[in-house]
C-alpha cells in the first residue's frame, strides 16, 4: 500500500513537472503579414519602392480608379491646395501632358455637374494610389471580365 502511494505521488509530481507552463506569449494567427507571437516584435515589411518609369497601367476593370504612374512624394492635397490638380485639372492637363480628371469627378452626390472637382472627389489618394513594385499581399485568381468572356466563348473553365 505504501509503495502504491509512493508511486502515485511520484507519478503526479512527474506530471506536474512535465506539464507545459501556460504560454505568456501565445502565437497569433498569420494575417497579411506573418503572425509570430503576441510578445514578439517583428520587423515591418519593407516599404515598396516607387519605380520611376512605370508606364500607365491597363485597368483591370472599367471602373477601376487608374493607378498613379509617378512618384507623389510631398504632394500637398488639402483645403488650401491640390497639387495633383496642378497638372490634372481641366485647364492644366493639355499643357502638362497629363490626363484630365474624369468628368465623373465634377458630379456631386446629387448627380449635379459642377464647375470644379467636387469635394467628394477632391482627395485623390482616397481612390488613386501610386503604382509600386509591391508583391500582392494575398493570392488572387481575379480575371478581367473580357478574359472571362473569351474563355467562356472557348468553352474553358465552365
Amino acid at each position: 500500500m505504501k509503495k502504491l502511494i509512493a508511486i502515485l505521488l511520484m507519478a503526479s509530481l512527474a506530471l506536474v513537472a512535465l506539464a507545459e507552463p501556460p504560454s505568456l506569449s501565445p502565437s497569433s494567427p498569420d494575417g497579411l503579414r506573418e503572425g509570430g507571437t503576441l510578445g514578439e516584435t517583428r520587423n515591418a515589411p519593407a516599404i515598396a519602392g516607387d519605380p520611376r518609369d512605370v508606364k500607365r497601367e491597363v485597368r483591370n476593370y472599367p471602373e477601376q480608379p487608374p493607378v498613379i504612374p509617378h512618384v507623389i512624394r510631398d504632394y500637398q492635397v488639402d483645403k488650401r491646395f491640390n497639387r495633383c490638380l496642378d497638372c490634372h485639372s481641366r485647364e492644366a492637363a493639355p499643357s502638362a501632358g497629363a490626363p484630365m480628371v474624369s468628368v465623373t469627378h465634377f458630379m456631386d452626390r446629387n448627380f449635379q455637374v459642377r464647375a470644379e472637382v467636387t469635394p467628394g472627389r477632391y482627395f485623390c489618394t482616397q481612390c488613386h494610389v501610386p503604382q509600386t513594385d509591391a508583391e500582392a499581399l494575398v493570392e488572387t485568381d481575379f480575371k478581367p471580365i473580357d478574359q472571362v468572356i473569351r474563355e467562356g466563348d472557348r468553352g474553358e473553365n465552365q
Partner: protein, 195 residues
C-alpha cells in the same frame, strides 16, 4: 549737449599723446581681427537651424512642414537647412538679408505669428514675400546647389527635361520658383495666386 559733442569731436581729432604709433596701429589691427571675427561668428550663429527653430513660431510651423520633404530627409542624406534657402551665401547679399531679418525680430517681439491661427492667416503674405525675393534674385539660393550644368536631362521626365533645357535659358525671365513653389513648406490657399 552741443558742448559735450564738441568736446568729443576735439578729443577724436587730437593726436595721441600717451600711446605710440606702433601700439595704436598694431593694437587697432589686432582689435580689428578680434571684432571682425567675433562679428562673423555671431553672424554665422544666427545662420544655424538651431537658432532659427529656437523660437516656437519657426519650430512648430515651418520646421514641422519641412521635416517630411525631400530637402530634409532623403536617400543620400544631403539636406538643406533654413539658411541654405532663406539666406544668400555670399557676403553682401547675406548682410542685406540679415538687415531685412530685423523685421522678423519685430514680428517675434510682438507675436505676429505666435499661434497656428495667426500663422495660417499670414501664410499667403509670408509665402508671397519669399516667392518675390526668389524671383527677384533669380532663385539664387536654389542655384547654390542645383546647377543646370550638372543636370542630366536624360534622367529627367521628358517634360522636365524640356522645361529645364530649353525654356529656362539665360535670356528667359523664368526661374526655379516660378514652377517649384511649396517644395519645402506647405502652400497657402492658391486660389488667388496666378501660377
Amino acid at each position: 549737449m552741443m558742448d559735450r559733442l564738441k568736446y568729443y569731436w576735439s578729443l577724436l581729432r587730437k593726436p595721441s599723446v600717451h600711446y605710440s604709433l606702433g601700439f595704436l596701429t598694431l593694437g587697432g589691427f589686432l582689435a580689428g581681427i578680434i571684432f571682425w571675427g567675433g562679428f562673423n561668428t555671431a553672424l554665422e550663429a544666427t545662420n544655424t537651424e538651431q537658432f532659427c527653430v529656437g523660437c516656437h513660431e519657426m519650430y512648430s510651423n515651418p520646421y514641422q512642414e519641412l521635416k517630411g520633404t525631400i530637402h530634409y530627409s532623403n536617400r543620400s542624406g544631403v539636406r538643406a537647412e533654413c539658411s541654405d534657402c532663406h539666406v544668400p551665401h555670399d557676403w553682401t547679399h547675406k548682410i542685406g538679408r540679415k538687415m531685412e531679418a530685423s523685421k522678423e525680430v519685430w514680428g517675434w517681439l510682438f507675436g505676429s505669428i505666435n499661434t497656428p491661427e495667426k500663422f495660417e492667416a499670414k501664410r499667403l503674405e509670408l509665402a508671397r514675400r519669399e516667392w518675390h525675393r526668389l524671383k527677384a534674385n533669380d532663385s539664387l539660393e536654389c542655384r547654390n546647389c542645383h546647377e543646370f550644368d550638372s543636370m542630366d536631362f536624360t534622367l529627367q521626365d521628358p517634360r522636365a527635361a524640356e522645361a529645364h533645357s530649353t525654356a529656362l535659358t539665360d535670356d528667359s525671365d523664368e526661374t526655379c520658383i516660378d514652377c517649384h513653389k511649396g517644395i519645402a513648406h506647405e502652400l497657402p490657399d492658391m486660389a488667388e495666386v496666378n501660377r
